[in-house]
Amino acid sequence: MTIKEVRDILRARVLCGEHLLSQEVHSACGADLMSDVLAFVKDQSVLLTGLLNPQVIRTADMMDMVCIVFVRGKLPDESMIELAKSRDIVLMCTDLRMYSACGKLYKGGLVGLEC
């Protein structure tokens, strides 16, 4: 699916990277521990997290992820948004909680990766 479809499924608000919404994404991962995200080198495109600090953006950058979804209505600050912009990463936020957000995306066809 495209990042735009991720936005629609999650009824999320895009905070930066509007010009990247047509990009295709193939898999996602939900985590609040960054080293857990870093443990799987396989291509994952979307990160869902309830965590809010600049290292979330850096972790996604290291993994070549293209989209971060903040769950439970969490809003990143301006410095995080700037960092994401400089790395061409789309940021969006949804009021959904982690389980529901992941479930909706999975049902919509965005799978996780088995290890």
């Binding site: 609040d32 960054m34 080293s35 443990a39 080198v41 290292q55 950058d61 290291m62 410095s79």
Partner: protein, 140 residues
């Protein structure tokens, strides 16, 4: 090809900018045309090491040597050191504070990740003196 040397000072007081060095390395490797898989392995290994220096050791230095057949990392700090390196290398072992955990670290996965993504890793540590981590990633 002559070996290319990159040096980074890691500021131990600034959690926000931790990862800048790994990011910079990533940019350089991309410019040099390395395959994405190699770049990612380098970036993650260095990022985990960099974060460790910031959250456990109050900063340090990283030297990266890019050769024709391998990329070598030397991470040196004068932090508290690691009493039992073998234990520290195990998945799930962490002494991170609650504060660090609230920031999304402290899963005890950093050193195991560094081991997983490199072809060789040596952790040399003396309690009260500091820690040196050597890593090598081979290039085919």
């Amino acid at each position: 090809m002559d070996s290319l040397h990159l040096h980074f000072d890691i500021d131990g007081s600034d959690f926000t900018s931790a990862g800048e060095a790994a990011s910079e390395l990533k940019r350089v490797l991309r410019q040099l045309g390395f395959p994405p898989e190699i770049i990612r392995r380098c970036a993650i290994s260095m990022y985990e090491g960099e974060i460790n220096m910031v959250i456990h050791a109050n900063g340090g230095t990283v030297d990266v040597y890019i050769d024709s057949d391998e990329i070598i990392f030397e991470l040196i700090d004068s932090g508290p050191g690691i009493a039992d390196v073998e234990l520290a290398m195990q998945e799930g072992y962490s002494t991170a504070s609650q504060e660090v955990r609230d920031l999304g670290f402290g899963a005890g996965m950093g050193l195991p990740n560094m081991k997983r993504y490199t072809d060789q890793i040596i952790v040399d540590s003396i309690v009260g003196v500091g820690t040196a981590v050597f890593m090598s990633i081979k290039l085919e």
